[in-house]
Symmetry: C2
């Protein structure tokens, strides 16, 4: 592979900084190099600097990417996504447009369970084909690493099927996937009258098998009224820890379940959603160093107006992360640029805070902050070129296809033009 | 030009129906043909029907567009847009993210006036080049006809400059532009102490010249506290009528100005925004046959939560229209698919109502309902192919680039893949 140099980027947004998640004012420090350049060799960043500096020492066989008038960012890292599922939930989307709530639809047999039925009915090859199509949407939005949760199988075999699809995605796509086991996403219909038996199944059969087969790095749980309560959540998460899995949690999406305190006490890597989380709980997350993963696209798509308190979290010193929550029910968007628009217009985060939250902070939340999430010597050459001169335009021109091209380990994997 | 046939569209969404704007339940009648086909010759639709019907009588020299698994829709018609302006307002976007309101920014010299300064400073060629880049965004979102307002010049010469740019866009781009004179967009800084003199300038100099040069089909006005009051609005609009211009009005965006009653009384084609409009005013618009143009993207982008009462308007029998309101301040999106998402999730319109509002109803609001806005024999061959099997997915997968290819008068003008 030839070495590659980016030259003349109007802004090379490096995110260079301390080797840990960024908090407070650090969230606004993007390390921007104007008229910036970068050298990538063997998939790894060798140097960043002014175009003059980079152009001075170019090897002979270099391939130059001319970025005049364009912004270059690290590839986005999507820290919360459910990309493997059967079918769509466009029927429920229309029902919500007609006035039904997410909770009403779930109570009538729709919601997560309807996707579970379609996912179980699909073969592994069908699930892979559907997911591969959606993965292209992520790449075309500038995402190069994403978390991928199971959770639409809800039986040992079906959860393993989804996790194998995620492993195949990782092997066949330019995108990097971080697999998360989410067997505790909902109580499956066949256990509706005996939810405790399902908890036992997750702990006694699913977790040991998933861990043994090395199919997941993280374990997640939907801690919510009608799904998994605090006691069951703690049991499942402690079992996951005993198998060496790191923890993520769906907390306080629809109601305040007290899950934030549990996330803090148990040492979860992230607490996700947090729409109903209060100040005391924010303080507990800060104290414990739990990263909040904010998912404004699901608030928007459900037609709700209560977004997580991003400003209070930043003020409290939390290392905020943004993700799409891509899923067929509550957040059918693969687009981090769309999430950045929502973060700025609805949660009053600044564009800079949004960029940090969806790159370096997201990378740390997935235990990959040492390798990706910023453009610094020694890191992977994962970056996206945008057709705009100012990084703030990515959030500003919402719904607009600004991605020019996407690179993973120095190779162009997507060119929109 | 070879004749073209579309075959095997999973849904050919024709919008066939009465030759007038659609109201009530008609908004949901999309005239969908499954496994649909269409024949286009010399830029005009010759026939629509099942693929079998269309395939039966194909001419020998036909070029076939295979649309298996894809939706085909009439090109979107964007009934409210401000595409010609200098620069961006990304600085104000960041200020709003930091908590400033649109009104505060305007009061401190930002807002429309800041774009006026940048637009005046730009040459006609520069404005054209900037607009041509943005026009590609519209095409790539599936829009084939759009309204284009002046209004960032606010002097005779500067308004003419913008209208000439719109004329050049029309001549150089595949998109069709419908020009609207919006000299009464704001009181320019140099008339801040004598706004009545600016009203006189609009009436005595701008309107006669614009009409004489044939640079506009419509006249619009920003009827709003701090901009143009009811009395001035009526004077300007009546003068525009006397010059043969049809009328559009910005009404009730930030405050209730009583503009809806004026729109009804004066016989405007459209009343746009209507975020603050009440039931009595909705009834007056219905009585007068004024079409409401709803612009949810500007509500969203300003971080507000009071959307126009779309359901009440539909129930009152209004022929609802959707538009982007594309502009650098309050709505920096060119995307009708994004507007459809907002319509469904925030205004509780159904996906079908949204499609009607952004195609055939928008076409009628621009006096082009006889020629575009639906796929029927005799109409222009303007259509978009989407990479999804169900039209509802266009609103559902928000922020996702689903446009596969765009055709104007039977010619492919944009292919995203």
């Amino acid at each position: 592979m030839k070495p590659r140099a980016i030259l003349h980027a109007s802004q090379l947004v490096t995110l260079a900084g301390p080797k840990r998640p960024r908090v407070g004012a650090e969230l606004s420090a993007l390390g921007i190099i104007e008229d910036g350049g970068m050298l990538v060799r063997d998939g790894v960043i060798v140097a960043t600097g002014s175009s003059d500096q980079i152009a001075r020492d170019l090897p002979n066989d270099i391939e130059v990417i001319e970025a005049h008038g364009r912004v270059v960012l690290p590839g986005f890292v999507d820290a919360h996504a459910h990309p493997v599922f059967g079918g769509t939930r466009v029927d429920e989307f229309e029902m919500r447009a007609r006035g039904a709530t997410y909770e009403e639809i779930a109570a009538s047999g729709g919601g997560i369970r309807s996707t579970v039925r379609k996912t179980r009915a699909a073969s592994e090859a069908e699930l892979l084909a559907q997911a591969q199509k959606r993965v292209q949407w992520f790449l075309r939005s500038g995402t190069t690493t994403m978390e991928a949760k199971s959770g639409y199988g809800l039986s040992l075999e079906e959860e393993l099927k989804i996790l194998r699809v995620i492993r195949q995605l990782n092997e066949t796509s330019a995108l990097e996937f971080v697999p998360t086991f989410l067997g505790a996403h909902a109580i499956p219909e066949e256990f509706a009258d005996a939810p405790e038996q399902y908890v036992t199944l997750v702990i006694d059969e699913m977790l040991p098998t998933v861990a043994e087969q090395g199919l997941a790095e993280y374990c997640d749980i939907f801690c919510e009224r009608g799904y998994f309560d605090l006691a069951d959540s703690e049991k499942i998460l402690k079992a996951a820890q005993s198998h060496g899995l790191r923890l993520r949690m769906h907390v306080d999406q629809l109601t305040n379940s007290g899950g934030a305190f549990l996330a803090a006490r148990i040492g979860a890597a992230t607490a996700d959603h947090l729409e109903q989380t209060n100040e005391a709980e924010i303080a507990a997350l800060a104290e414990a160093g739990v990263q909040p993963v904010l998912l404004p696209a699901s608030v928007y798509a459900l037609g709700k107006t209560r977004y997580p308190k991003a400003r209070a979290m930043i003020d409290a010193g939390l290392a905020v992360v943004l993700g799409t929550d891509f899923n067929p029910g509550s957040s059918p968007t693969p687009s981090i640029p769309m999430v950045l628009s929502l973060a700025c217009t609805q949660m009053k985060m600044t564009p800079a805070e949004g960029i940090t939250a969806s790159t370096i902070n997201a990378a740390y939340s997935l235990n990959r902050g040492e390798r990706i999430g910023s453009l610094e010597a020694g890191k992977a050459g994962n970056f996206t070129v945008f057709d705009c001169a100012d990084y703030r335009e990515i959030a500003y021109w919402f719904g607009t296809p600004l991605v020019h091209s996407v690179y993973v380990e120095g190779e162009c994997v997507c060119s929109a033009r």
